[in-house]
């Protein structure tokens, strides 16, 4: 009831807000981030198209750096195939099957974390659902975003998916062993496209098959791990 004149009209209010729509996901991501920080664990959100070579990259990383204590959470709409492949390669891995969801969110990662081994780890790679759109906007609590882009996907991919590439801290140009068969693909043009959507473009050309670039990728992870904020000791 209108309390100004008692006319019987319902009162209308307009509330000004500045509330992040994905705020509840971001709070959960903050909780994950704190968990990773306490464990001294570098968490990476690995994104890319289906078939861009994310799983093969992790298998090859394990071969290239057997001393790096790596674990993975692997998101897919259905099946545990990627997690099974990773476990077969010696990487502790947990599958997150999303049903029909096109991305992982912080809550799904949180649940999966309970199933990871207690043993000390250096790097946790969250292999996101293959998709160049949706995963980019959901914070999972990672320290950095890594996007796998294969040489067969086209040099203009970064320009077509700017939301994803803007969010990237590192782009891995995968399947570089195919470059000799693709004379029309220029690594320089991929780098130029990245510079138009990524303010500080960083790209490493890698091949899971030949091992090219994997040393630099491992060095990048080690450098990221060194700059992780040191854990504050409880008084």
């Amino acid at each position: 009831m209108c309390d100004v004149c008692g006319c019987g009209d319902r009162e209308q209010v307009s509330v000004e807000l500045h509330e992040r729509i994905l705020g509840s996901n971001e709070r959960m991501a903050g909780h994950n981030r704190e968990h990773f920080r306490r464990r001294g664990l570098l968490a990476l959100n690995l994104m890319g198209s289906p078939g861009s070579g994310k799983t093969a990259l992790l298998e090859a990383t394990r071969r290239a750096a057997p001393g790096l204590r790596l674990a993975a959470l692997s998101g897919d709409l259905a099946t545990e195939r990627d997690a099974e492949r990773l476990r077969a390669a010696g990487i502790p891995a947990e599958a997150i099957t999303t049903g029909s969801a096109c991305h992982l969110d912080a809550g799904m990662v949180h649940h999966a974390l309970h199933h990871l081994p207690e043993a000390p780890l250096d790097v946790l790679v969250v292999e996101n659902v293959g998709n160049l759109v949706c995963p980019a906007i959901y914070d999972l609590g990672q320290a950095a975003n890594v996007v796998a882009l294969s040489v067969t996907e086209g040099e203009d991919k970064p320009l077509k998916y700017p939301v994803m590439f803007r969010a990237a801290d590192l782009v891995l140009l995968t399947k570089a062993d195919l470059l000799p068969h693709l004379p029309e693909v220029s690594v320089e043009r991929v780098a130029e496209a990245l510079a138009r959507v990524m303010p500080e473009p960083r790209m490493i050309v890698v091949s899971a098959r030949s091992g090219e670039g994997l040393g630099r990728w491992v060095e990048w992870m080690e450098a990221q791990k060194r700059v992780l904020q040191p854990v504050a000791l409880a008084p």
Binding site: L17, H18, R20, I21, G23, R166, A195
Partner: protein, 113 residues
């Protein structure tokens, strides 16, 4: 198609406002969507139509304010035009996104008892 999960999150926030203000119904929901927020306004609208059924938002309009991406030099704050290398023409420092990635609930208009 993550717009459904975004529409659901939006509905929860609006519902919370409606309860706080003891609203009988919501008339309009205003959101700000950045060009680089990764959200398609038309898909968000369709998703909102579906998720609002039988909620306090049934009948509410969704007003979407598009926010274009705006880049500026990290160091000297000079504007950096999109479409080219995201680097300052004057001092060569990388650009930073000033606005255009936001996904915000900005205003709720409600009818209260």
């Amino acid at each position: 198609m993550h717009e459904y999960s975004i529409a659901s999150a939006l509905l929860e926030l609006v519902d919370e406002q409606a309860r706080r203000h003891v609203a009988t119904r919501v008339l309009a929901v205003h959101v700000g969507v950045g060009e680089l927020a990764g959200v398609e306004p038309e898909l968000l609208r369709q998703a909102f139509e579906l998720v609002r059924e039988r909620s306090v938002c049934a009948g509410a309009s969704l007003e979407i304010r598009r926010v274009p991406a705006r880049w500026a030099c990290r160091d000297c704050a000079a504007s950096v035009p999109p479409g080219l290398e995201l680097r300052c023409a004057a001092c060569a420092a990388p650009a930073r996104l000033v606005e255009g990635a936001e996904l915000l609930l900005e205003r709720v208009e409600m009818e209260v008892a």
